[in-house]
């Protein structure tokens, strides 16, 4: 009268095996769920009861105890409906197969009519279970696609409780979903670099940023094309590897944002939260410590438009994940760590009215208004953004006449080449691109010749740069050299890199001059 069914639970993007134990004994009819269930798990009793009856099985009028082991970890969500129902049917002898519980792992929510519904987080659970030796999983039909990318696991797509039980009893056929090979779909990007007229300087900055994994700050008057440029950045991002795609999919599986994909994320995410976003929505959090925008932008682009309009504490909270590439959200009961390795693209106006520096419509802001606006971006935040670039103002008559420039494909080819050079160089360092260089590695890989060194010294004197800007310029110079295919960093590389730092002293320096 005891049954033990395998299932799985999540904490962050990693998880733990859950053993669903169902014990049916004599006594007054009762139903207890133990093992730190949350509200959704506790409510499963009603769904399980209805689903069993409506599938034509018998619900025992006896004392039922459901234990979710290990008992000291919190269980969340509706994923245990299916394993509990199967356990109940097994404990009451309604499943004749006596060995299935060893073989299969069950995941899924039940509808009252016995249909199996999809749940969030199937991919990381299946990956975790595979690591624990499980080779056969029964998952909801909706989630079968994402689970079928894991090599070595037979994934059975469950449509209804009755179908699953019939299959276990050998009365119905259920074929494992064919394992799928991930193929990098040809993605049709909505925006192409060639769509942007003019702005060659800003496009070049975007190319450098992507090639070295640097963060990018775009400053420009309204209508100069900041948002358009940011939205076209995904089209020049380097191609995803399978491992990257798997990790992105894990996060999105947990967040439940996989709808509309083929089960697996095939392009780098582009997230553009509104500037009213709360800290929890950006960093992650909430009662169940869900991943935030920065984790959903993992291996992709996090675009923050109207940068200074974000709440200051929200922006400051970004700093730590930007350094670590991951974020840990601690709650009283749980601690979840999510990856958050994103490229930050921020866009802002140069002043509250937006026209500072414009030659077409003069700015109406006072110096102190401008200073106050710019000061919403703190120095440490500014420091974490390697490239600052000003968009050129676009007048009406310019739009038609400006040349379009290269297509994204051409740019992407250069980016891919530069990334390969970097990956090769940093093979032993455990990093992938220039932006990740630590200060010790910078000294080693970004050595300058005498001429370049002299130029950099000059730049410091005339631009009044901070000491922290020094390593940033070095890293960007390294990327520029990589794009050119040069192993040595020459003075013209440094000269170009300095252009992407001159904004700081111009705007954030002494604003009175």
């Amino acid at each position: 009268m005891l049954s033990k069914i395998k299932s799985y639970g999540l904490m962050g993007i990693d998880g733990f095996s859950v053993s669903v134990e169902v014990y049916v004994s004599g006594g007054l009819p009762a139903y207890d769920t133990v093992g730190l269930p949350d509200a959704a798990v506790r409510e499963s009793k009603e769904r399980v009861r209805a689903a069993i009856r409506n599938s034509g099985f018998e619900f025992p009028m006896q004392r039922i105890t459901v234990n979710l082991a290990p008992a000291d970890l919190r269980k969340e969500g509706s994923v245990y409906d299916l394993p509990v129902a199967i356990g109940l049917l097994d404990a009451t002898g309604q499943i004749r197969n006596k060995t299935f519980a060893e073989e299969y792992l069950f995941l899924g929510e039940l509808a009252l009519d016995g249909t199996v519904r999809g749940v969030a987080g199937i991919l990381p659970m299946v990956i975790g279970a595979y690591g624990q030796g499980v080779r056969k999983v029964i998952v909801p039909l909706e989630n079968a696609a994402e689970a079928s990318y894991i090599e070595g696991v037979q994934v059975y797509a469950a449509e209804s409780l009755k179908h699953v039980v019939d299959f276990l009893n050998g009365e119905a056929a259920l074929m494992p979903t064919p394992a799928r090979k991930w193929d990098r779909a040809r993605i049709a990007y909505p925006m192409d670099f060639a769509d942007i007229k003019g702005q060659q300087g800003a496009k070049r900055a975007a190319e450098i940023a992507v090639a070295g994994g640097h963060n990018l700050l775009l400053v420009g008057t309204p209508g100069s094309g900041k948002t358009m440029l940011a939205r076209s950045i995904p089209s020049i991002l380097p191609e995803l590897t399978f491992e990257e795609a798997l990790e992105i999919t894990k996060v999105h599986s947990i967040a439940g944002t996989l709808q509309g994909t083929e089960g697996m994320v095939s392009e780098r995410p582009f997230r553009a939260p509104h500037h009213s976003a709360s800290t929890a929505s950006l960093i992650g959090g909430g009662q169940r410590a869900m991943p935030g925008e920065i984790s959903l932008a993992h291996y992709g682009v996090l675009f923050l438009d109207e940068f200074p309009e974000f709440r200051k504490d929200t922006l400051e909270a970004l700093r730590q994940p930007m350094e670590d590439g991951s974020v840990t959200i601690a709650r009283a009961a749980t601690r979840s760590t999510y990856p958050a390795d994103f490229m930050l693209v921020a866009a802002m106006n140069p002043c509250p009215c937006g026209n500072y520096g414009s030659r077409i419509s003069p700015c109406r802001c006072t110096q102190q208004q401008i200073a106050r606006y710019l000061n919403r971006i703190s120095g440490p935040m500014l420091d974490r953004v390697d490239l600052h670039v000003e968009m050129s103002e676009v007048g009406f008559e310019d739009i038609a006449s400006r040349s379009a420039g290269e297509r994204s494909e051409t740019v992407r080819a250069r980016v891919n080449a530069a990334r390969r050079v970097q990956a090769l160089r940093y093979k032993r360092e455990g990093i992938l691109f220039n932006a990740q260089l630590t200060s010790r590695m910078t000294a080693r890989f970004c050595a300058l010749d005498a001429q370049a060194e002299a130029l950099l010294r000059k730049a410091f004197a005339s631009l009044r740069l901070s000491a922290r800007a020094y390593t940033r310029i070095l890293k960007v110079s390294r990327t520029i050299a990589d794009l050119e295919g040069s192993e040595a960093i020459r003075s013209h590389h440094v000269a170009e890199a300095v252009q992407y730092r001159s904004l700081e002293s111009k705007y954030w320096g002494d604003t009175r001059r």
Binding site: Q200, R359, A371, M391, Q499
Partner: protein
Amino acid sequence: MKREYSERERYLLWLGFVLGPGSKRYFRALTAFENDAHAMFAAAQKHDLPPECGLKEPILEKLFASATQRYIDGCFKRLAELDVSAAAFESPEYPALLKEIYDPPPILYYRGRLQAEPALPIAVVGSRAPTEYGRRMAHTLSQALAECGACVVSGLAYGVDCIAALGALEAEDNPYPTVAVLGSGVDVVYPAANRDIYEQIIARGAVVSEFLPGTKALPSNFPMRNRIISGLSRGVLVVEAAAKSGTLITVDCALEQGRDVFALPGRITDPKSEGTNVLLREGHAKFTLSAEDVLEEYGGWRAVKAQTLSEPENLSLEQAVIRRLLLANERSFDELCELTGFSVPLLNSTLTEMEFSGIIRQSPGRVYSIECVL
């Protein structure tokens, strides 16, 4: 710096402490006592001031109450604590030029060193929110004037005022480069962001005000301050002024006081230059293109550095092309890209080199222009 006050100054200042800023009332009252402040003090002690003083209640009441030696000592002690000095109309350091105007302030409070006859005082005035062009011109011209030995008088507000002071302070050889006139008490720094410039001015020049220490920067104080700015100066140089701006009030004061007015021309479409352009058209101001144009009005003053825009040497081909383009007009990065046809990396590095060589400069909006030396 503790200043000793003579017996005569003591009572002149007493009257100023009690009456506060304003010229008319002070001098009318003093005339009634034939400029003898001590006599007036004695009369006030006896609560016996004749009606010719033109003073009425409640100021009479205040005069009577403060006509004690203790009150005067208390005032001097407070001034010393604030490190503020006071100069009465007859004091030796009271600026000679200021005495000539119709309504000179009876008392000037100051910090730093006040000179009665500074070498060629020239006021530099203009918009509080100047354009990039205005900023550059205010800075360059003030520096050039101060380097030639002139003393730049300004208002220490936002914009041209503090830029002019900063420019003048760059002239390191000038022993008395700048004087700032405040619309608040001399111990009140408004705007507070200018604190560091304020300190630098005190160290090398003077900060003056006719308002009692502690007076807040009320909007109504500024027109009164403007007459002192022009009054202290032999000429007023207007860098940028919109039509109907506060700067034009200073110009009106200067014209009434018979001072020279100089104005920089601007584009006729630029609202920030409307005021200066109109001044030039009406013939109120001298058309000014360099510090030299200001200096030549005053015999014996010559510009140290002549305006240079000669061809720099050793330009690469790319640099020469860019320079030629920028000489005609300022250009944004995008425009340069289109016009030259250079690749972005090449353009970027060339521009950096030219910036560092001081040939061109970059302004907000990523606009490049030729760096000119006046």
